[in-house]
């Protein structure tokens, strides 16, 4: 056994065992990876790339280079602090770019884009595109353009074009934080009456907190009840939690419309028993109250189920032990039971908060104008105002917020412990 050849243990085929094992392990790893690969590719193409595409879109400004290929080159020589208009060559490029853009009918897109930064730009672009076809430049393109519209002689117009001439732009993010670029390139907050999004983000966070808090208050007692009754009873009672959980979100939202509206069931009952007069029915829908009530109902099962699974593991003898040593029921609860359920409250709370912060359907249907959330504005900018860049920027901010919460959730519960139903 002591000779040199026997020290390298080999398999029957004469391959060293170490190598053979390595090969076998690699083979198994490869099989495992091959099994996951199809899904990974699928999720990459149908989901991850679209999300990445949205991130790019929130800073994308390639439209300037597409519509103003000459101008963006010429304007590099012009300084933002300059008090004079750009040179004749820039104006010549402007005329050329406009002639091409007007012929292809694409130039108005850039006008709309610049209109987000400064109103009146869309009109200026449309007017110029109309008149540019007949324009014959004699010697000064600058004079010719100013003759079409005096705004081309305004230095602020050029500062705007210069600022937005890059391939990427931060202006959508500035808009999402209610800030704007001044003509000299510095930032400032928009005037009080034009601010929308910062307060909207705060409202979204405030409403999500309220809803999370309410689900804890309502979910805790019933989760406690479920975990302390006999298994048979709890199997029956948990159906009352699971049925709403499995019922379509739109069904639950429409039933809250039926319950809460002015001519709805709750107002009818209150009028019927004479608690309120027929002419001052409560406004419980199309405002914040509507959003809070309906969303608390919809998200409550997401709180009850994790709480229940944590409470099930707490032996009742712990509280009994505390009582036997002289603790009042209240002390036993606060000092013994409650600390053991904190993990469940954390798990359910973060889950409900994540779901609430990105909710769209329910606020859109019962929120009116006062109860809408950030997601409703994202939808508005996608389908109504068509300001896709701003929608992408708002979406990216919301996504970062959710990812931060998700990491927190991972720290508290661990994503591998996520359970369903």
């Amino acid at each position: 056994m002591a000779n040199a050849e026997a020290e390298v243990i080999t398999t029957a085929d004469g391959v060293p065992l170490k190598e053979s094992l390595k090969k076998a392990l690699w083979q198994r790893k490869k099989t495992a990876l091959l099994l996951v690969a199809p899904l990974f590719l699928f999720v990459l193409i149908t989901f991850l790339i679209p999300i990445f595409d949205m991130l790019i879109r929130s800073v994308d400004n390639s439209i300037a280079g597409e519509q103003f290929p000459g101008v963006v080159v010429e304007i590099r020589n012009w300084d933002l602090d300059s008090t004079e208009l750009p040179n004749e060559a820039t104006f010549q490029a402007l005329v050329d770019d406009f002639k091409v853009g007007a012929k292809e009918k694409t130039i108005s897109r850039l006008g709309r884009r610049l209109n987000y930064e400064q109103s009146g730009m869309s009109g200026l672009f449309r007017k110029t595109a109309r008149k540019i076809k007949k324009l014959e430049v004699t010697e000064s393109p600058m004079a010719a353009m100013i003759a079409i519209d005096k705004k081309w002689g305004n230095i602020d117009t050029w500062r705007l074009i210069k600022r937005e001439s890059g391939k990427y732009s931060s202006s959508y993010y500035l808009a999402a934080f209610d800030a704007e670029k001044n003509s000299d390139g510095s930032f400032s907050m928009k005037s009080e009456d034009r601010r929308v999004y910062v307060s909207l983000f705060w409202r979204t966070i405030r409403l999500s907190f309220t809803i999370t808090f309410l689900t804890i208050i309502l979910g805790y007692p019933i989760a406690y009840l479920l975990s302390t009754v006999k298994t048979k009873t709890s199997n029956m009672l948990i159906i009352l939690v699971l049925l709403p959980f499995w019922t379509s979100l739109l069904v639950r939202t429409s039933s809250w419309i039926a319950l809460l509206q002015k001519e709805g069931v709750i107002n009818d009952i209150l009028v019927g028993i004479g608690l309120i007069g027929d002419d001052n029915r409560l406004a419980m829908i199309h405002n914040e109250t509507g959003t809070i009530i309906a969303m608390t109902h919809i998200l409550l099962p997401f709180m009850v189920l994790p709480l229940f699974s944590v409470m099930k593991t707490i032996p009742p003898s712990w509280v009994r032990a505390a009582r036997s040593m002289g603790a009042t029921p209240f002390t036993a609860f606060v000092r013994v039971y409650l600390p053991n359920t904190v993990a469940g409250i954390g798990a359910g709370g973060i889950l409900v908060f994540i779901l609430a912060i990105g909710y769209y359907i329910t606020p859109a249907l019962v929120g009116g104008t006062k109860g809408t959330l950030i997601s409703n504005f994202i939808a508005y900018h996608i389908s109504t105002s068509l300001n896709w860049g701003l929608a992408a920027a708002l979406g990216t901010i919301l996504l970062l917020l959710v990812l931060a919460l998700y990491i927190l959730y991972d720290k508290v519960v661990g994503i591998n412990n996520m359970k369903l139903g």
Binding site: K29, V36, L39, V43, I222, T228, N235, S248, V251
Partner: protein
């Protein structure tokens, strides 16, 4: 939960207070679902009870909203689309998700946490963001407003549920069973179909059910990635609630509640079967 004999009066009062509070919360959970049923038979086109209904007069009730649901072209198209889209996205997500779960549950899988995180990200990202991203990208590649686009989008949203449920089933899977089959001369394919599949099939079926429900109930993504021709039942309900509120929505809602009750029963039976097979009897 029963009170001990030696409970004091305060404890008794507190106990019944607690039970009342719980009853009220359960009522809050279930009442909005029950209220739909009578409202769907309302003869008047309102979302509320008429005084005739409260006096149980027979002519205050009608089944015409159900008839409308069964005859209207809008709703019939929606039902058809819902089933087509849910069916194909369930097939795709169950197939890909089960394969991936088999790979992920192998003990020596590299970068497990990262890959798992990416694979279940469609479940974590708020739907409005997924919808926005998919809308931008799918319109760029010409999938926006097509059935294929909606099916792919729903399949992507549903795969995390399949991955999670099947992985959960596989954690209790005894790998020595496949080794035993191999040692007895079974080929890997034969082992897979005759040993592994029968054991994980409950997980695959509940994963598929989750996938089906996800697609069947999904509305945000279909609103953006789909158009009128891809309208599903939730799409039609959403636009119905926005435009003209008619009790047809209540009739549809009642039918959907029935479907979820059936599903709930089915899942419960599946759970009991699994527990029985594993030798854990429910108390």
């Amino acid at each position: 939960m029963a009170l001990p004999i030696h409970a004091t009066l305060t404890e008794r009062i507190w106990h019944y207070c607690f039970l009342t509070i719980c009853a009220l919360i359960f009522a809050f959970l279930i009442f909005p679902i029950l209220i739909i049923l009578p409202l769907s038979f309302n003869a008047q086109p309102f979302f509320s009870f008429t005084s005739e209904m409260l006096h149980l007069q027979p002519d205050a009730f009608t089944t015409k909203w159900y008839e409308e649901f069964l005859t209207s072209r809008n709703w019939q198209g929606a039902v058809k689309n819902s089933f087509i889209i849910a069916f194909f996205s369930t097939i795709i997500s169950t197939f890909l998700g089960t394969l991936a779960a088999l790979g992920l549950s192998r003990p020596d899988f590299p970068f497990k946490t990262t890959i798992m995180g990416l694979l279940i990200s469609p479940m974590v990202v708020p739907l409005i963001i997924s919808a926005a991203g998919m809308f931008f990208f799918y319109s760029r590649v010409g999938l926006q407003g097509t059935h294929i686009g909606v099916i792919l989008a729903h399949a992507a949203l549903a795969t995390p549920f399949v991955v999670i449920t099947v992985t959960a089933t596989l954690t209790g899977f005894d790998h020595s069973l496949t080794r035993a089959a191999a040692s007895l001369g079974s080929s890997p394919t034969h082992t897979f179909f005759h040993v592994t599949v029968p054991l994980i099939i409950p997980g695959v079926i509940s994963g598929g059910l989750f996938a089906f429900i996800t697609s069947f109930d999904e509305v945000v993504v279909v609103l953006f990635v789909g158009s009128y021709n891809q309208r599903t039942i939730p799409w039609q309900m959403f636009s119905g609630i926005r435009e003209q509120i008619s009790p047809t929505i209540m009739a549809v809602a009642t039918i959907l509640i029935m479907i979820s009750v059936a599903l709930l029963v089915f899942l419960e039976l599946m759970r009991r079967r699994t527990e029985r097979l594993r030798g854990i009897t429910p108390h």
